[in-house]
């Protein structure tokens, strides 16, 4: 092999990347419309955002209401039963779903542009004329109970469920998904009632993004939804602030036969509307945002402890969290725990090195177009903006704000929100082996897959 000394080539001058601007309208029934021209192919991404229709609004004792309501929208309308509705969706080669998040539910339709009118008419029928047939509701409810049983065999699910339960005790954000108890208490009428209250067109926004004239998209949206009753729903109560969790505690879910330990840590952090959220994203990128970040580099590439170790900064409407995770073979749980928390602690104390900080900003700036390559990507931006009440120019100015984050700001946000002396660690693994290991690090509560250890 001959030797050739080469330096990595520098980039050419950057090419401009201009996001589309959304144009808006509002129908007489108060439904807001937003549309943008985007994408290279003749597809349209359609979303209807229903703020306040998420799982955080589940009536107490009926946890799972939003989830089952979303699924049961596809159980049929006053015009067609479940099978006829399924056939109508597939006749258009469309994807149509209604899914619940924590703070909202979103109906999504993905369709070819040529079928947009027919797809929107079907979407409007599903959302405004749902029949919620008793048998379809009951089938969805029973299936979800069985799905929960299956999910409790998955280590990732167990870790996330326990983490949220302990990080948000007694709070709606403390549930990863429906609960068996809540599902048992659900009735068809409670689901229909939730839909009537929370899926009103007043307060909802129809978002259309596709390779078409935005005014034509707005007109198509108006044709499908104007004249429809907004419904009678009242605005949802705001989600209360999450409770304050003192100190640091460990919650171990015993999963017999596990060959790995899954460690999932989180603590309260920044709300999405916080002016410091952007600095938080830059700091998080340095610590654990990807394969060039500190956690991955040290714990996988240098110490061979894991397939991957990452951190994250995320936010729901009423509050946000910082988190980190590592999965490791059972035998090195002690080293993985120490390695992960030593790195987070050091980062909280000292922040990113200058080089790490520069790289994090470059990555976030340069990679901005990648998830926005498709109409669905820019539609998701608009959903996030509306849900969190962010300004109209949130995404247009996002890169300027990232570019302006100083290392000092990144250090300060890490010190304020990444310090792991507070928070929850959920661990999943074989307690026979790892319980003593975890107990050496702090107060450890033992759980079974389905709840508190007897």
């Amino acid at each position: 092999m001959s030797t050739l000394r080469r330096l990595p080539p520098p980039p050419l001058p950057p090419l401009p990347f201009l996001l589309p601007s959304f144009t808006g309208a509002r129908l007489a029934n108060s439904l807001a419309l937003r549309a943008a021209r985007w994408g290279r192919r003749p597809t349209v991404s359609v979303s209807v955002l229903f703020p306040g229709a998420g799982s955080a609004a589940d009536p107490p004792g009926r946890e799972g209401t939003a989830e089952i309501t979303g699924e049961t929208f596809l159980g049929g309308t006053h015009r067609r039963d479940a099978r006829a509705l399924a056939e109508a969706i597939d006749d258009l080669a469309a994807n149509l779903e209604v899914s619940a998040g924590s703070d909202s539910s979103v109906a999504r339709l993905s369709i070819l542009e040529k079928d947009l009118d027919a797809g929107l008419a079907l979407l409007a029928e599903v959302l405004t004329e749902p029949a919620f047939p008793e048998d379809e509701f009951e089938k969805n409810r029973r299936r979800q109970i069985d799905v929960l049983a299956e999910q409790r065999s998955e280590p990732d699910f167990l870790a996330r469920e326990r983490l949220l339960d302990r990080l948000y005790p007694g709070h709606p954000y403390g549930r990863l998904t429906a609960t068996e108890k809540g599902l048992e208490a659900l009735t068809r009428d409670s689901v229909a009632g939730f839909a009537a209250d929370r899926f009103s067109l007043a307060g909802a926004t129809l978002i259309l993004a596709g390779a078409a004239d935005p005014d034509a998209l707005l007109r198509a949206g108006a044709r499908a939804f104007e004249g429809l009753s907004a419904g009678s729903g009242a605005p949802a109560a705001a989600v209360p602030p999450p409770p304050h969790v003192d100190g640091f505690s460990i919650h171990l879910v015993h999963r017999p036969g596990s060959v790995q330990t899954n460690l999932l840590y989180a603590r309260a952090a920044l709300a999405r509307r916080s002016p410091r959220f952007t600095a938080g994203l830059v700091a998080n990128q340095s610590l654990g945002g990807g394969a060039s970040s500190r956690l991955f580099h040290v714990l996988r590439e240098e110490r061979s402890l894991t397939y991957g170790a990452y951190s994250s900064l995320s936010a729901r409407v009423a509050g946000g969290q910082f988190g980190a995770s590592i999965d490791c073979r059972t035998e090195v749980t002690h080293e993985a725990f120490t390695g992960l928390f030593d790195l987070i602690r050091a980062f909280a104390a000292e922040g990113p090195a200058e080089e790490e900080h520069a790289r994090a900003r470059k990555y976030l700036l340069g990679s901005f177009p990648i998830p926005r390559e498709t109409p669905g990507g820019v539609a998701q931006d608009e959903i996030t903006r509306l849900l969190h009440g962010l300004p109209e120019d949130e995404w247009a100015t996002w890169r300027d704000r990232v570019g302006a984050v100083s290392r000092r700001e990144a250090c300060q946000v890490a010190a304020d929100f990444f310090d792991p002396s507070t928070g929850i660690l959920a661990a999943v693994g074989d307690a026979k082996v790892i319980r003593p290991v975890l107990e050496s690090f702090g107060n450890t509560t033992l759980w079974d897959a389905d709840g508190p250890r007897a």
């Binding site: 099978r83 397939y307 926005r372 390559e373």
Partner: protein, 407 residues
């Protein structure tokens, strides 16, 4: 090369004609382990620098290994095309392999196997299903390999593998995105012209015996909560006319809201918690796969009988005209969606280019499927989804048998 204007991104993909199928017994998992080593540095790229340089350019990158090929790709701002070409050319020309890197990535891959297979419900049963369906070793063993073989992999193995399979003429480069083709070709030439030609391996071929009878196996899965069932049929290689017809069968039975098997067993009759139908298309013998979790109280015998009954009815009656029309629309819609991003286009070009010598075959294949009539689809189901081609794996939750109590 495919210019895609409008969004200033470019995807560079290098796909090598080597996958786990070339691994002999005792060397399983090596193609994938080697994929990891390709990110560990080359003559002008230090350890960790590949990740660092791509991140600083604002790019994403990865590699994947299948039975049939290994690919490496970067999607990044179009102004950084030269960087992606430099990284790919440097590791094609002068990868730097050391014992320390091998030991490090061996552990990463072992953790990946634990994470994706050993610690997950049902995952190991997919390995069993392949081992049962195939007779010849290339497709009989899993891409991730065995722990023993991963442990035994040596630096000499890595050097030999690189020399044998990572020659320029054994690879295909795709560049897709906001580029001027003439300019991009010039940049490709600049980056790769210093990669010396090397001997390429002989075209890989193997023979799989003709299917001769149903096979069955049971897997006890300590992580599984529900009993599960694999029903697989060994069929022809990708792009065989039978596979075009089976791709229609796959969609009619499993796709969308109306897929026959899914709709009846999961939604209408509540016999299955989940059910997927997929056509695992390979360069050699492929698999028509059905995988389903049973609902509590539904035996695997019942679930299997229901699935086979529906297959028999389909083989006898064929698709309805409405199903054929629906599947044609779905096919066209899927084809549009499959070409929405620079990365998905790059993958299509690479696969057809490497396997078939013509990167532009995707539309041709879409047309070939659109041209099928109901009789051809019914005929394929009747000839191919039959007992002699069938392998059935039942997955039985074995649990650890622990009672609750202090751990």
């Amino acid at each position: 090369m495919s210019p895609q204007r409008g969004i200033p991104l470019v995807t560079v993909d290098v796909t090598y004609d080597v996958g786990s199928r070339v691994e002999p017994p005792g060397k399983t998992g090596f193609a994938h382990l080697f994929e990891h080593l390709m990110f560990e540095g080359s003559e002008n790229v230090g350890k960790g620098d590949h990740f660092r340089l791509v991140a600083e350019a604002g790019g994403s990158m990865n590699g994947t290994t299948s039975e049939d090929r290994t690919n490496y790709f970067e999607t990044l701002p179009a102004e950084s095309l030269d960087l992606a070409l430099f990284l790919e050319a440097d590791r094609m020309r002068a990868l730097v392999l050391t014992q320390e890197k091998l030991d490090n990535q061996r552990e990463a891959v072992k953790e990946e196997k634990r994470l994706r297979v050993d610690n997950q419900p049902y995952a190991s049963s997919f390995e069993t299903a392949d081992a049962l369906a195939y007779d010849a070793f290339p497709y009989k063993h899993p891409v991730i390999g065995s722990m023993d073989d991963l442990q035994a992999a040596s630096l000499d193995d890595a050097r030999d593998f690189y020399r044998r399979y990572y020659a320029p003429a054994n690879a295909l480069l795709a560049v897709v995105g906001d580029v001027d083709p003439a300019d991009a070709f010039r940049r490709v030439k600049n980056a790769f012209e210093e990669v010396p030609p090397r001997e390429t391996p002989a075209r890989f071929a193997f023979t799989e015996p003709v299917p001769s009878g149903e096979r069955r196996q049971r897997v006890d899965d300590c992580h599984a909560a529900m009993p599960a069932l694999h029903v697989n049929f060994k069929v022809a290689e990708r792009r065989h006319p039978d596979l075009f017809a089976l791709s229609v069968v796959e969609r009619i039975l499993g796709a969308g809201e109306t897929g026959r098997l899914w709709r009846r067993l999961v939604k209408d009759d509540s016999l299955a918690l989940s059910l997927s139908v997929s056509l695992d298309e390979r360069r050699g013998p492929s698999l028509f796969r059905i995988f389903s979790l049973a609902r509590p109280g539904v035996t695997l015998e019942r679930l299997e009988a229901e699935i086979l009954g529906d297959l028999s009815r389909f083989a006898a009656d064929g698709p309805t005209p409405r199903e054929m029309e629906r599947v044609r629309r779905l096919l066209l819609s899927s084809a549009v969606r499959a070409t929405q991003t620079t990365q998905s286009i790059a993958f299509l070009l690479s696969e057809y280019g490497l396997y078939d010598g013509d990167p532009g075959l995707f539309p041709h294949d879409v047309e070939a499927v659109l041209a099928l009539d109901a009789a051809a689809v019914r005929d394929a189901a009747a000839r191919l989804l039959v007992a002699p081609r069938r392998s059935v794996v039942t997955v039985v939750p074995s649990g650890p048998g622990e009672s609750k109590g202090p751990a």
